[in-house]
Amino acid sequence: MELSGGEILVQCLKDEGVDFLFGYPGGAVLHIYDALYNQEDVKHILVRHEQAATHAADGYARATGKPGVVLVTSGPGATNAVTGIATAYMDSIPMVVITGQVATANIGSDAFQEVDAVGITRPCVKHNFLVKDINDLAETVKKAFYVATTGRPGPVVVDVPKDITDPNIKIPYHYPESVQMRSYQPTLKGHSGQIKRAVELLLSAKKPMIYTGGGVVLGKGSEELRKFVRKLGYPITSTLMGLGAYPSSDQLFLGMLGMHGTYEANMAMHDCDVLIAIGARFDDRVTGKIAEFCPDAKIIHIDIDPSSISKTITVDVPIVGSVPDVLQEMNGLLESSKKSPDKKAIDAWWAEINGWRGMKCLSYDRNSDKIKPQMVVEMIHEITKGQAYVTSDVGQHQMWAAQYYGFDEPNRWINSGGLGTMGFGLPAAMGVQFAFPEDTVICVTGEGSIQMCIQELSTCLQYGLPVKIVALNNRYLGMVRQWQEFFYENRYSHSYMESLPDFVKLTESYGHVGIRIEKPEDLRKELERGFAMKDRLVFFDIVTDQTENVYPMIAQGKAHNDMHMSPYCEPPQDPERELS
């Protein structure tokens, strides 16, 4: 079979099993778009901005575990995609981004719509390629998928000059079954000796703590994790990225840790004597002050990326390997071990933890005459029975969604954790909805974030995506305002959003349903009405309390036991602990 470069690209995607391609056409990719015409296998989704194409592919990848695929043109097409590529890179999301490029002969001549896409994306991709010969095209695409999806996943860019896809130049097509790269061989299996040491350490612990991250979700390690945690009966906390890997409704789960983590999770981190970090990377929003991070703990760290180990926190037992492989081996050892956890010590530890839990750190004013954002999230949890896919943008609403939705399954909570990209939520929700057309997909957002990619309401109409947008509208860039209240003596510099659009009319003009909710007594009724519209996109513009803050909060650079607490939580049961 002889194919042109454009046809080869499309055929590669088919052979790779790609069902959705998120993209936007332009000069340099016209040959490829022509090859996409008149075929049904790869469904092309036309977004309204290239940033949204990458976020949609990213959301698709996070929900399905399969790589997201993007096609954009050269120049501005590529630069617009960069934010989405960087977002995926920071959260290790498998993605293949095909960027058009000017013809090989014109590269370097400042041609129309030319940018050095390989150069611009280099710091925010796992790897990238420039295809200079049509004979390398199919193998390069195979390598791109291989690199993106194996080891620690990440985005891979393939830059394809226009002449490579010329319809008049045809070559025999062959898509390799697999590729070998001598320079790239990720480790999956952990070191058995280290695993044994880790298990011994865990069984000798008096105050153990399990800290999990996005690596459990990405590595599909949720099932092994659940076995592991239940076998030990130890307390477990999760980062923002790992929520759902272990069910949040389970008694052993202490909630999220870190800057906006729960009191009990952060206190248990601070006081533990053995910590096992699983697929987590000790991000600064998690560790707080490095010098006072888990001061008394021996630390075990499982990660597929050797460079994550001892990057910020020195660990005692490093294990390089994939989460499910390593946990499976640990579970086997736990089963056959003659030793079991020190029951007396663990019971005492739980008693201490339950004391912290008694503070009910996520309490808020339930009798307010204003709508409390936390209540909105709790209510959508009830209405969707905790079964929805929830995407978010970035800011206070993101933290409230993470704290109050209560995820019991992995791949359900989809947010930009590492890069913190406002504008992520709506396009990501589109990607999820394409993958799961029958499921409820919610985008929890704010009136600031939603305006960063609001044009995608048009894409949602074109493809009939019934996403539910829950905008917590406090007329402020809420998280910025909160920091200004706490650390800048209430100087609200440019955190106020004046001239907001009428979101209901705006949504209606895009052909969707808009519902504005202003009073707490209307909240449940109106949410239920909107969520009942299964095949419509509904935009809930919810007027929330402007002054609400996200609690608990560890100020940047402070230790885990130094938290700002909500005025509504119970008094501390341990009087020796001073609260700020």
Binding site: R122, P123, H127, R182, S183, P306, S307, I309
Partner: protein, 164 residues
Amino acid sequence: MRHIISILIENEAGALSRVAGLFSARGYNIESLTVAPTEDPTLSRMTIVTSGTERIIEQITKQLNKLVDVVKLLDLTEGPHIEREMMLIKVKASSMAQREDVKRLADIFRGHIIDVTTSTYTIELTGACAKLDSFIDALAEHKIIETVRSGVTGIARGEKSLHL
């Protein structure tokens, strides 16, 4: 601490910028960097001289290994090794006294005078980085017109080697 890191890297366009970009993006020091193809034309050998705490050096080697184009890596300073750098240095040498002194210094350092004009000598000198530094110090009385240093290369002593 100063470290000499040797890398075998795929000889592909952009490979050098991946390494250089890594050092600038993560704020690592880079004292010198040399790169050239090996006996296998698909592989380049790169030698980087860097410095930092043990933690930083560990991160540098891990981050370099993480680059998809990097095939193999060795921190030469972890074992016995030979370090070499070449320098070409052009010195003013017009009076007889200057010419004699520069020639004498070049001999002491086992350098070669490889170009001569009526007013200059150009000397080629090879050795460890510190030796080249001392030679420059020794020329303090003279006027140095131009200094060209290749950057450090190195190889492990004995059986140990960096190859596929």
